[in-house]
Symmetry: D2
Subunit: 350 residues, 4 copies
Amino acid sequence: MIKVGIIGATGYAGAEIAGILLGHPEAEVVWYGSKSYVGEEFSGIYGNFFRIIDDKCLDDNMEELADEVDVVFTATPQGLCASLINEDILSKVKVIDLSADFRLKDVTEYEKWYKIEHKAPSFIEEAVYGLCEINRDKIRNARLVANPGCYTTCSILTAYPLIKEGLIDPDTLIVDALSGVTGAGRGAKVANLYCEVNESVKPYGVANHRHTPEIEEQLGYAAGKKMVINFTPHLVPMNRGILATEYATLVKKDGKLPTEEDIRAAYEKYYGKELFIRLLKSGVYPETRFVRSSNFVDIGFKVDERTGRIIMMGAIDNLVKGAAGQAVQNMNIMFGLDESMGLRIVPRCP
Amino acid sequence: MIKVGIIGATGYAGAEIAGILLGHPEAEVVWYGSKSYVGEEFSGIYGNFFRIIDDKCLDDNMEELADEVDVVFTATPQGLCASLINEDILSKVKVIDLSADFRLKDVTEYEKWYKIEHKAPSFIEEAVYGLCEINRDKIRNARLVANPGCYTTCSILTAYPLIKEGLIDPDTLIVDALSGVTGAGRGAKVANLYCEVNESVKPYGVANHRHTPEIEEQLGYAAGKKMVINFTPHLVPMNRGILATEYATLVKKDGKLPTEEDIRAAYEKYYGKELFIRLLKSGVYPETRFVRSSNFVDIGFKVDERTGRIIMMGAIDNLVKGAAGQAVQNMNIMFGLDESMGLRIVPRCP
Amino acid sequence: MIKVGIIGATGYAGAEIAGILLGHPEAEVVWYGSKSYVGEEFSGIYGNFFRIIDDKCLDDNMEELADEVDVVFTATPQGLCASLINEDILSKVKVIDLSADFRLKDVTEYEKWYKIEHKAPSFIEEAVYGLCEINRDKIRNARLVANPGCYTTCSILTAYPLIKEGLIDPDTLIVDALSGVTGAGRGAKVANLYCEVNESVKPYGVANHRHTPEIEEQLGYAAGKKMVINFTPHLVPMNRGILATEYATLVKKDGKLPTEEDIRAAYEKYYGKELFIRLLKSGVYPETRFVRSSNFVDIGFKVDERTGRIIMMGAIDNLVKGAAGQAVQNMNIMFGLDESMGLRIVPRCP
Amino acid sequence: MIKVGIIGATGYAGAEIAGILLGHPEAEVVWYGSKSYVGEEFSGIYGNFFRIIDDKCLDDNMEELADEVDVVFTATPQGLCASLINEDILSKVKVIDLSADFRLKDVTEYEKWYKIEHKAPSFIEEAVYGLCEINRDKIRNARLVANPGCYTTCSILTAYPLIKEGLIDPDTLIVDALSGVTGAGRGAKVANLYCEVNESVKPYGVANHRHTPEIEEQLGYAAGKKMVINFTPHLVPMNRGILATEYATLVKKDGKLPTEEDIRAAYEKYYGKELFIRLLKSGVYPETRFVRSSNFVDIGFKVDERTGRIIMMGAIDNLVKGAAGQAVQNMNIMFGLDESMGLRIVPRCP
């Protein structure tokens, strides 16, 4: 039985890990770390776990934790994981960091976009970017995994095969994305109050959202060149879900646009055997409700011959494939388990 | 492996049975019956099941179905099950009816409240009211189970022990209840459109909702006398969940009101060993989000010494414990399985 | 032109006063007071007012304000108004307090329910309870008006005529109420975050909500005796609106229950000429969407002969008739204006 | 007093016209036309108008109506207005058509995108496209105005000045838009049920939505060339509001990108004196809640030097500036009234 510790267990992503691992036959959470609720019952905060999880919250003591568990999930704000980690800890325990601390290989990019100093730059090189379907082999032997961001997971997976196969022009990629409000976390901010969010939509982080360089770096690897994209997130009044609508100009071959079949073949080539990626039928587009609470990525697309562009659309649950689910998927890979263990969750709808 | 047929599989309750049984190790759905979608892929209607359920919808042919399966769930409007059932069918297959056709023992009450003629009154006597925690023993040997209504399940279970123990005066019981919109079904009605329901609450069926006689009959058995109650349902803008807030005058013993401890002891006496009923801690009251997608009933209460009344509050997911979950629980009992098989669903929140 | 100052202008009720007064021909806001946003543009906080209100927020300086304006609205937490007020101020300016500081005549009740010491008990006697339809004559000459609570406005007006006329037994009154989330204010609290409130309902303040003594005191005047009631508020996922569903036992006359006509006559007697109270037709019950953004109180009822009880239902917009609208209505009365000035707002739906 | 008839008064747009005209000093509705509710009280359908509008619904008889009123609004499905209109009618009454029948000048485009035969092609030439801020002068003398679509109003106005001034490349324009659910109308369809829409977002009409040719035609006039664009609408769970996020490549001058100031100057040039268009401050982006129930268009933008693109964002209330409000604005222009009469509605928030 894998012993699991969660730092930041009372945030939405941390609690989601706790919930998912209740259905995992080979792992159990033994440490519910928290900054604000030390000593309180975990199920007093998340009443859904009443009589299911009986533990009290412990503190966020990484040193002590490293002696107690086999794997630590850090579901905390940027900067905390980098400030806690060191060689001694990594020699004892695997770390899956849900923050952005180890996602970008270029530390100056990190410091530019996140506006904080990186406290453990020496581990950036070693850290593996935990986008399971792409980096599976590297994840297997990693000590430190940087779990991808929610927008980035959805944005990258939706465009990856077409960029990799040269079917679209990387310089034309535009990602327009919508997110449910759990993406904003559980901090007590006026902007996230019910009445500030309900019955409205808004763009934010326009041309400067922090997930931009992450998408650019990862898709850049696929393109074989540096990419610069537009990424515009919007907040929509729902709890969970991300929908990314992506636009790019199709690359002609012999003067002809790729057909729907060409595009489908490219997706099939990379995702045909992926359990968690569902390529939708022709004319069907993703809806976030159909992936809710699951680890699925639903992808649809439309070739627009009028404009010569393709519209690619992907949907995930931001707390599952966009955070906790992918983190558990990474854990499964790192520990040599069936990758889908504990994650064969069927979406419930409505 | 128990073979299952669902008549009305494309309604919300029918689809919920389908979803729950995907996690049931001893049962599998082999017939997705539908009136409106015959020949269409089930996952074309409920995209959440894409690549999980590959079946197409069949018709609602009860005769044929009875030869193919071990148990039939009828998740259909009032009157249909009664019009389909007969001795031949019941001799071949167990039937769990999610409509109201066999819930009331008094056929004239049925015809008065539902305003339709009962087509199979001869089976009313035999039918067992499938409120699992109360009628478990009778359910075990039943051929025909009347699955309780959503409001009724919540309303009855919340008050039952106190009425049974004589702690409250049955003549004073008032049930004020709130329901999510799935309770109104999936029919295309203007009243259930998003923009008619959103950002509003309303009472309906005031003093004449059809679940009233069902609550009165069942709680009347516990009271040992005929009961007449007030029941007021309200529609609230959310997908799932029922919250019942119930008021009754406490019965004094030796001139003294029962204490919180007395009340708690009564609940514990009846529900102490029940897996699906969670009696909340003192001062904690149920919230529908904490039971969402699960088979739990969360119950809290407050003794009000100022008025001599008790306020009892219960919460369920109307599609699970209020419909599909309880139906599967009934199936488990009828087939001698562990009652919780396939139903140990942990609520996900938010 | 009446000069208006608002203390607490950046809260939901304060901003609603600002919005309503934009449509008032005889009053204008000259002081937008705030604790947290001094010096910031008011329309930077409430973008709806961009290019409509150009003022910056000032501080909450009551002394200075009293020299500048004709009337002050205090839309602030309990205790603040009582701590600011004095004879000098009241000699210069009329005060309409939207907090609870001057609502209860019995200061010990105030201190018991609100758990704070009252800083200006000497003004309690003078303060007039600003429930316009009931206390119109007293309000006319008041210097200090205690604007009623949102739940209380709705609960009292819905039951008042029947209690006044002796048609219902005051000892049996139970008020079960639902509120939108603006009722919880604009403070940054985890409990009011979008994802904590959305897709759920919950009771709170069970048997100890602070609006209880206010309802009891005011309805007690109508009953001519001390009343003790049950009042249970619930939080529902919508921005605005209160729905109160009230239960009481009808008083028989000559062995007969009052009829629907008797009840209707009582409502007509008190409200027949009231512009803002709409008695709905037989069989029609209030929905909060139909009063949204307006000063209306919609009332419906049902006589239940089976139980001998009546179910009374009232709906208001908690920010308008439950706060800002009634405050402006009080201002109009105090300044001898047409009571509906600026308040003939037509609800918009959906 | 202008006498107004509404054909399709019981749909959301029709009812919104009714609501707006209650606040219009020079116009009054005398004919509430309906297909489904003839003879019923209008306020029985829209309870918000109880005791405010006392009229019953009449039929959709255009001939008779033309004799009774000065202006007819047709708020009906595509095809109806074209089938009702003729020279006799237009000689008696002004017509403002909220459907798409007279929006496209090219009848083959209409028939291709709408898949119905046009019944009155001879009036297409005469009809004026009622985008008030652009076509004001032509509208003044029109007998027949084609009121623009909701998405189109928002999409066009957000990009218009920059295309007109040659600051962006028309061939690169991509419009990604979000709409509340009133945009889907009040028809009883499963897809628009509360539980199908709530807690989800979805794209629809991808690369073939009918508002596409309308945007292309109108912006094409500004560009001085035929335009082909991508337009992707999404449905989001809220009642009202459209947000359009638009992307285009900036056109360099002398090798330099236009600056934020250049862009702002272009917007100011066209909209500086427009009452209903609010150009937001630098760094502020539109939110639909801030225009709710009003006739405002809020516009913000961001120059992205990294990609050489601009992101333009516009927000409207789809039922007001996107339908009923603009229709009334057109009426005001056609009748020589102050263009803002009845439309100085202040958005209410939250």
